[in-house]
Point group: C2
């Protein structure tokens, strides 16, 4: 029994790795959150799919292991990477209940990288990735991360800046970052990377705090060195001249 | 004139995105650092290659733009991602000298993601990526980043932990991190990801400080929550139960 945990990248076939496509091709059954499973169904319309709604992660993983236990080759798909806010961790934890299962993690291009490429090169040098979702992480821990990243001088990628129920998280994050960084700090906001309705916009940290964001948005905060060059957001490779 | 800046992933064809392979296929000329260009030559043996040694970044970019200015489609290849410690930033900076050049960035799977997949799921939650190379960044900035990431409670991926000339950087980084994290903190070390001689090992932060590392090594420092589950390095998705 074989279970692949597959990071499919931003969503289209082009952003997927060749290993990810091969794992999906080999699979009898593809399991995923409805939205991402539908993106995969466009590429493999004749596969068998099992889809579950958002927050059904534990159930989704059990369904995938149970399908694999029946002798099938199964892929559990994640948008972006399999590890970064993905299913690899909960799947490896639950794997203890399925001792015969062989689990292979197939990494993918996470939104920090695919969004950065649309904006230019904001994450050239050291960077931090922080989710603003407080579903699984208390707000004080998120604030500690924002402060640690700001003090460390990192360029920052923010995931889950807002959802239908959480509209103020991005403004609060900007408020914290403005304690450490200038209001003119170069920032970027990308939506629907690699999908219909893809947009990328460069703006200041001050403008970012009132920017419109949703659960398909990724936000980039420049370090103090980040510049706009020919309309692109570019962080230099270091502090010394190349 | 078209210049692709292509992140090729860890090195083999399987780790490359379908968009990266398509850009290389469309290219008349492929430009890169000798080691990475040779990895690409195995996949496209009949392409024209221009290779330059390490630290020849500026020259490499000029050669790529000059080839594109002659009407060719050119790919400038980077290992991992095009942005993360890659050529996208210096290429976008130099693009100002070639106003007719159309530059497209193709993101790829950086070593933080491909190495994490080999170890398990160390970067599930918020994480920071830090290079220990002091060629372009002063040591005090690197130490500030290490302290910021440690205080913020991030899982950490370290790039360039050592080279033939820099053997003590990893030990010094561990010394700093041990001020904030327990010596039993779960860590991982991967070498030659996706290439001949690939290895992955889980060890403690104390053991890591004397571990053998080179320029093809990526190091992972767990957050306080990171565990070993069935021999894999796993950071939970959050602080609350899923």
């Amino acid at each position: 029994m074989k279970l692949y945990i597959v990071g499919i990248g931003p969503g289209g076939e082009a952003g997927m790795t060749i290993a990810a496509r091969a794992a999906l091709e080999k699979s009898d059954i593809i399991v995923g959150y409805t939205v991402y499973a539908e993106l995969v169904r466009r590429i493999f319309p004749n596969k068998e799919f099992i889809t579950t709604p958002m927050r059904g992660e534990r159930k989704r993983i059990m369904l995938a292991f149970n399908a694999a236990a029946g002798g099938k080759t199964v892929s559990l798909v994640c948008s972006g990477d399999a590890g970064v806010y993905g299913m690899a961790s909960p799947a490896l934890s639950l794997a203890q209940k399925y001792p015969g299962a062989e689990v292979e993690i197939i990494p993918g291009v996470t939104a920090a990288l695919s969004g950065a490429a649309l904006l230019g090169a904001p994450l050239t040098n050291d960077f931090a990735v922080i989710s603003l979702s407080d579903l699984l992480t208390p707000r004080n821990v998120i604030e500690q991360r924002l402060r640690g990243a700001a003090r460390g001088g990192f360029a920052i990628a923010l995931y889950n800046p807002a959802s239908s129920k959480r509209k103020t998280h991005l403004a609060r994050a900007c408020e914290i970052l403005l304690e450490y960084r200038d209001k003119t700090t170069v920032c970027g906001i990308v939506k629907n990377i690699g999908r219909d309705g893809e947009t990328a916009r460069i703006l200041t940290l001050e403008q970012l705090s009132s920017a419109d964001a949703d659960m398909f948005t990724t936000v980039f905060i420049g370090s103090g060195e980040t510049k706009i060059i020919n309309g692109r957001m570019v962080t230099p490779r270091g502090y010394k001249n190349v």
